[in-house]
Amino acid sequence: MEKISLPFVFGIGSQRAGSTFVSHLLNAIPNAYVHPLKELHYFDTKYEMRSLHVLESLSKYRLAINIESLLPYPGQSALELLTDQIVSDSKFSNDPSCKNHDYAYHFRAALTRRNDIAYLCESTPEYMLLPTDALLEIKNTIPNCKAVLAVRDPVKRFISAFRFLAAHESFANDGNEALSQRAIDMLDSGTDGWINQQDQFNQYVQAITRYEQAGIPVFVVFTDTLQTNYSEVVSDLEEFLEVKLDATIVNNLSGKKINEVQFDFQPSQELLAKLSKRYQTPEYDMPPQMSRRSKLLKYLPESWKSVLPT
């Protein structure tokens, strides 16, 4: 596999935990090229954690739209964003398994065109779920890579994910009570694939452990408390990435809620209680395992700190 020698940072999730905010924050890295497809889904598809048909159909859909978008006269930067998306989607359309083309291909057009790129970035929340073997291969291909993980209270993250799911389903208008009951039924079924995935998106420590085992350093952004210590987080992120972030972009992002789901769903007390119980067990984080990580502890929400062992 073609190696990428430039410094590289992955946004690795978690889904509905502020990953879009993180991907916007990566734009503040000077001379960075952030892939214009926010979620490339290369590695999760390649390692068969996601259906290749999903990537194929989405790529074809976007490809058709983006070629149409070339018809008017887009400005130079818009043209570059469009063509880089076209390049990736064209390749995904032809090779959705990602087994016959290198990850580096998706950055080649930009690297050919520009000679000022010092940092490469890409964000796909599903990368959080990659197994250690895959991460070892990534580390081998991109030796100078790091990852940023957005972490959110597992219960809040679940509710946000369910809100996102419900907004796009036929049962969207069922009302709070029925929606809560639906979520409870899904949790109780024990076999629901969506619930299984949500469990994985809440297993932050396991994800961090896999990345660290592969030698990929992870910076954690606690989105629940981000607004109270934003400048401190930014400063630590700068230290982690070894760059000075663009202050204008950083300031513009301050206090912003990005990619919020505009769908009104208030979970029932029963659902909240069930979720709290489900995600308080040791395998879901948190507090005990977190306590061993000073870097993580620093940003831990007060509610979690309260249950830490003294």
């Binding site: 064209s90 057009a109 050919t112």
Partner: protein, 290 residues
């Protein structure tokens, strides 16, 4: 109809690429950058739908590779290039039944009243397909068929076959290969017979299109000025005969002489196409260049 179409319908290996180039150079017709759109032959079942899809997607992928290696993307601003990329996208990603022929010429419709393309396979359409084609492009469309000595056309088709399929034919094996094809009468050979059947194509198209003209390949190459005038008169389009002549001097798509066959084989081909040759000589009123 706001736009008028000018469509070359063949024959294959009879100078259709040259003709596309000549019209581009000497007229105001917007000749489609995808030289052969293969719209009507695919739509009416004369060509496999998957074949057009695969070919168009390959063409698009090739252009994407050009973008990947480009230091400067300014070529993407050219409408002609956008039309090329978009037409390949459309033909590659949408069912042919869902595609409107005129749409394939976007974004070049606004300032181009005359729209053209050349697809040799259109020559093979039957009456029913031609009637449907007329409903799409209008009775006012100009249709052009280029007729070439059937023997020379066949030999050129063999060279193309040799080149595309890496048959590695030489002077000796080419003759054997052609004779075997003629004996077997396989699908390739029968297709060649159709591409040499100018009479049927002329009869079919002239029945449905008042602005139809058959022109001689020999005359187009040796007397380009007369051909230009003939085209202008028959089709009611403006042709710059001087530019037509200059462009005709550049023979496009010449595959070169990678082999030549014996007189004996040439005679056998001539015998197969004797009626076709005779028809052309009578039709044009001068002997074919041997």
């Amino acid at each position: 109809m706001k736009h008028r179409f000018v469509i070359g319908i063949g024959s294959q290996r009879a100078g259709s690429t040259l003709f596309h180039h000549l019209l581009e150079e000497s007229t105001h017709i917007f000749m489609h950058p995808v030289k052969e759109l293969h719209y009507f032959d695919t739509l009416y079942g004369f060509r496999a739908k998957e074949g057009l899809k695969d070919y168009s997607l390959r063409q698009m992928a090739r252009e994407v590779e050009k973008i990947v290696t480009a230091k400067d993307l300014s070529f993407l601003h050219a409408k002609r290039y956008k039309c090329y990329l978009r037409a390949n996208k459309t033909l590659g990603m949408h069912p042919i039944e869902k595609i409107h022929y005129l749409d394939l010429f976007r974004p070049c419709l606004m300032n181009n009243k005359l729209l053209g393309e050349v697809t040799p396979e259109y020559m093979l359409l039957d009456d029913a397909a031609i009637i449907k084609m007329k409903q799409v492009i209008g009775e006012n469309a100009a249709i052009i068929l280029i007729c070439r000595n059937p023997v020379k056309r066949l030999l050129s088709a063999v060279k193309l076959m040799n080149s595309y399929n890496n048959l590695r034919l030489n002077n000796e094996t080419a003759g054997i290969w052609i004779e075997r094809m003629m004996t077997d009468n396989n699908s390739w050979m029968l297709a060649q017979d159709k591409y040499n059947d100018y009479q049927s194509a002329i009869e079919r198209y002239s029945r449905h299109f008042p602005h139809f003209i058959a022109i001689s390949y020999d005359q187009m190459v040796t007397e380009p000025t007369q051909t230009a005038e003939k085209l202008a008169n028959a089709l009611n389009i403006q042709v710059n005969s001087e530019r037509f002549k200059l462009a005709a001097e550049k023979i496009v798509n010449n595959l070169g002489s990678d082999f030549s066959v014996s007189e004996d084989v040439v005679e056998k081909i001539a015998a197969r196409y004797q009626q076709n040759q005779q028809f052309l000589e009578n039709f044009f009123g001068f002997p074919l260049i041997k």
